[in-house]
Amino acid sequence: MAEEEKEKKETEEKQEEKTPEEEKKTEEASEEKKEKEEITFSTRDFIFKKVESLVFGVSSPQMIKKMASAKIVTPELYDKEGYPVDGGLMDIRMGVIDPGLRCKTCGSKLKECIGHFGYIELARPVVHINFVKVVMDVLRGTCKECGRVLIPKNKIEKYKKELDKVQGETGLEGRRDAIKSILSSLKTINKCPWCKSRQQKITLEKPTTFMENEKKISPVEVRSRLERIPDEDLEMFGLNPTSVRPEWMILTVMPIPPVTMRPSITLESGERSEDDLTHKLGDIVRINQRLFENINAGAPEIIIEDLWDLLQYHVTTFFNNSVAQLPPARHRSGQPLKTISERIKSKEGRIRHNLAGKRTNFSARTVISPDPMLKLNEVGVPRIVAMKLSIPETVTEWNMEYLKEFVKKGVSEYPGANYIVRPDGKKKRITEETQEQLLEEIQPGYIVERHLMDGDVALFNRQPSLHRMSMMCHRVRVLPYKTFRINPSVCHPYNADFDGDEMNLHIPQTEESRAEAETLMEIHTQLISPRYGLSVIGCIQDSISGNYLLTRGFSMTRDDAVSLLYNIGIDDMSRLPNKKEIDGKEIFSVILPEDFNFTGKSRGKDKEGKDDVIIRKGVLNQGVMDVNSLGEEKGLLLRSLHQRYGDKRTIDILGKIFMLGTKFLTNHGFTTSISDTDLPEKAELEVKAILDKAEDDVNNLINLFHQGKLETFPGRTMSETLELKILEILNKARNKTGDVVAEYLNKNTGSSIMSDSGSRGGPLNLAQMAACVGQQAMRGKRIEKGYLKRTLPHFKKGDLTSSSRGFIRDGFKYGLTPYEFFFGAITGRDSLMDTALRTPKSGYLYRRLANATQDEKVEYDQTVRDASRKIIQFKYGEDGVDVSKSENGIINVDRIIQNIK
C-alpha cells in the first residue's frame, strides 16, 4: 500500500505502470511473429514489473480536458439519418456502439474500441455530491480571508509529527481517525491565528448548499476559497496536493463517460432506447446550454440562480440518484434512474454482483433425493441435465467413428452431442440442417461436445461449503426423472438431507481438471476426516439395523444367503461355508478381506454380557456389527480397514456392507410402533414406585425448606440449594425409570433394535415413550416463568412441587396432562428459538475463523506457517501428529510393532 490516502470511487485511478508495459508486450509479440513463425513464444519474453504503489486522486479540470477526446455542446443524439451528431452525447469520437461505424479517435470498430471520455464546460461551477463532506471539513478548517489552516504556525509541525507517529502505529486507519479529531477541534476557533480575521460558522444545508451566517456561499465563492489554501496546509486535512486539490472537488468541467459505458438498445420496433446515464447527461447538457444562453443574454439573476440550482440537481443525481434530501430523477414510467453510484453500490452493483459474484458454465442444480442402489461415489444425473451438459472430446483417427455416432444422434436423442468445435475455434451447434454437413466435415483435430455419460467425472457440491468434503468428485450415472440422486451414506459430509435440499453439479472440461478432481477430490480420498481421524462416511439407519440383525444371530438357508450376497454384487461364494443353514455372521464375513483382523467394542452387550467384537482372518467370530463399528464418525472397523487396505478398497467394502444391511432388512422386514414400548405390569409398578418416591422426596425437601431446616450447599442460598437438590432427585428418578424400561423391554422389537444398534434413537427416547418424559428445563433451571410466583393459574402461588415446575411424569405413550403438555411446549419453543438464533451467529463465527486461518500450512519442517512464512506453531499441534493418520490423535506404537511382526 502506498502512503497516500484519499479514496473516492469514480475518480480517475492512475496506473501509469501498466500501460507502457502492456504496449511493450504486444509489440514484442507481433515483432516475433513477423520474424518467423518457428520462434515459439515463451514466458521469458514477458517483462515483469512490480506495482509499488497505487495513488487515488481527484482529476483536475485540466486533466479532464486532456483525457477527453470530444467536447460536448449539444444534447441531441442522432441526426435525421440516425447518424450520431458531432458534439452530441453519442459522438463517435467517444467510441462506437453501432456495428459498421468506426471510432473517430482510435479508428477501431465496435467491440475493439473501448471508448474515450468527452467533457462539457459547465456554465457555472457546481458541487460534486460525493465530496461535500471533504469540502465542508476544509472550509471549516481554513480561514475565509487568507486561506490558511486554523492552526497556529508552531503547532502545525507538532500535529504533523503526531500524525506520522499514529500512522506508524496503527496505519492509515489511525491517521484518518486522528485527522478527524483534529478537524473537529478546529470547529470552535473563531479567530484566524494567521491574519487575525474573524471566522464565521459554516453550516451545510443538505445536500449541497454551504451556508455562512444564514447566507448562501455560492460554489464560485467556495471554489475561490479553496483555491487560496496553500499546498502545505492540505496535509492537515489528509489531502495530498500532488493528486488532490480541494478546488477540484467543485466541478467546472465535467467528464462525459464513453458511449461504450452507456450503450443504447434498439427495440424491436426499431426505436432506440437510451441508457439511464445518457438520459441524465442529456439533462445536464440541455440545462447547461440554457444557462449559457441566459448568462450571455444578461438574464435577471433569479432566472440564472434557478437554472444553476437545476444544473446542480442534475449533476448531483448523475453521480448519485439516491441522495436522501433530493427527489430521485425518474424515467417517464416513474422508475428511478440508475446512475453511477447505483451501478457500483449494493448487492446488484458492479462490485458484489459482477466482480465478487462469479457464475460458471457447465453446471447444474436441482433437488436431491436418495438412491441406496447407487455406489457411494456415484451421482444420479437426470437425463435432461445430461443432455445439456457436455464433455469435449477431441477427434482422432481412432475414435472418429465412435464420436460420429454422437453427432448422428444430435441434440435431442440421448447419447448425442450439442456442438462441434472446428480446429480454428469456431463453434457449430448441431441441428437437423447442419448435421449431415458436419458429419462429413469431421476429421481429426475437431472437437465433439458430447452428452454426459455414465462414468464421467463431475464435482458435486452443497452450500455452505465449510469443509473440503463439501465438494467432492463423483461419477456420473444418467438416470430418468428430474432429481440428482446420491447414496444416502454420503449425505453426512455434505450435511444434506432430502427435505428439499438442492445441490450443484459441475463438469470439468479439460483432461487436467478431470485428473485433478479424480486424484484429489474423489469420495475415497475424503473418507477419513482430518478433524478426528475417523470415516465421515459410514452406514446409517436401515443399513446399521440390518447388519445388526444379521450378525446378532440370524440364520438362513444357503440358497437365501447366496441370493442375498449375489444381490449386493458378490459372485464369489467360495468363502461361504458349505452347509445348509448359514449364520448371519458368516454371511457378513464374506465381505471382509481374508486376512483382516479386528477387535472392537459393540454398543450394547450380547446375551453372554460381552461387548467384544472379534474378527480373525476375515471371519466375524464374536460380537455384532453396530454404530461403533460401521457408523459415520464412529466406525472403528472402517478406520481399521482404511489403515490396512487403503481408501479404494475400503469404499468398496463399505459400499457392500451398506448394501448388505439394507438388502437384508428389506427381505427380513422391519417395523416400529408405539406398542414396541409396552411394559409388563410389574415394570409399570416399578416405574410408578420410583416416581412416587421421587415426588415424596421432593415434597419432604420443600417442607424442610419451609421450616428453614434445609442444609445449604456452601456458597448457595437455601432456595438455590433446594432447586439443585430437587433437580438432582428428579433427574435421577427419570434415569432410573430408563433403567427399568431398558431391563423389561422386549429386545426383538423394532424400537429396541434401533436403539441397541445405534441406528436411530437411544434409551432416553424409549424411556420417554414408555415411562416418563422427565424434567423440562430452561437455562439449566426448572420452569419458573409465567404468572406471579407460579407457572400457570392451575397451581397455588409459591408452589414448588415437581408437577408445578415442569416435571412431566407421564410418558408419551400414556399421554400428557394439559399442563405437562404446556411445559413441553415451553421448552420446545425455547430450544427452537435458540437454534434459529444461534445457527447464523455460529456460522459467521466459523466463517471468520476459517478465513483468518485459510492459508496456514504445515511446512516440511513441521512448523505451521502463514502466507508470509511467519511461524504460528513450531510443531503442528505441538506433537506433529496428523490426526487423520492416528487413532484419536495418538499414534499406537504397539499396533505398528504388531503389524510388522
Binding site: 506457517r865 508470509s868 511467519k870 511461524i871 513450531f874 510443531k875 505441538e878 506433537d879 501428529v881
Partner: protein, 85 residues
C-alpha cells in the same frame, strides 16, 4: 507506552499458569534461526513490557524460549522474539 521495567503490581512469575520463560543466548538464537531458516521477523512476538519478562534482562531483538506444560505432548517449546512495547 509503558515504561521499561515497570513495577508489576502482582508478581506473575510464580503463578501456576505462567510457563517458564528463558532468554536464548546469541549462539542458541543463531542456531534456532538456522534450524527454521528464518529471521526475527518470522517469529511470534512478545512485547518488551510483558509481565513475564519482568525479571529477564531482555532487549529488543532477543528471543525468549517458553517451555509450556501441554496436554498433548507433556512439554512443548515455543519461541518468541522480543519487540518494543
Amino acid at each position: 507506552m509503558a515504561k521499561r521495567k515497570r513495577k508489576n503490581i502482582v508478581d506473575v512469575k510464580n503463578h501456576v499458569l505462567i510457563p517458564k520463560h528463558k532468554k536464548l543466548s546469541e549462539k542458541d538464537k543463531k542456531e534456532l534461526f538456522e534450524k527454521y531458516n528464518i529471521t526475527l521477523k518470522e517469529l511470534p512476538k512478545i512485547p518488551l513490557d510483558d509481565p513475564a519478562l519482568a525479571d529477564i534482562d531482555a532487549k529488543e531483538g532477543d528471543v525468549i524460549k517458553i517451555t509450556r506444560e501441554s496436554l498433548t505432548t507433556g512439554k512443548s517449546i515455543f519461541y518468541r522474539g522480543v519487540i518494543s512495547g
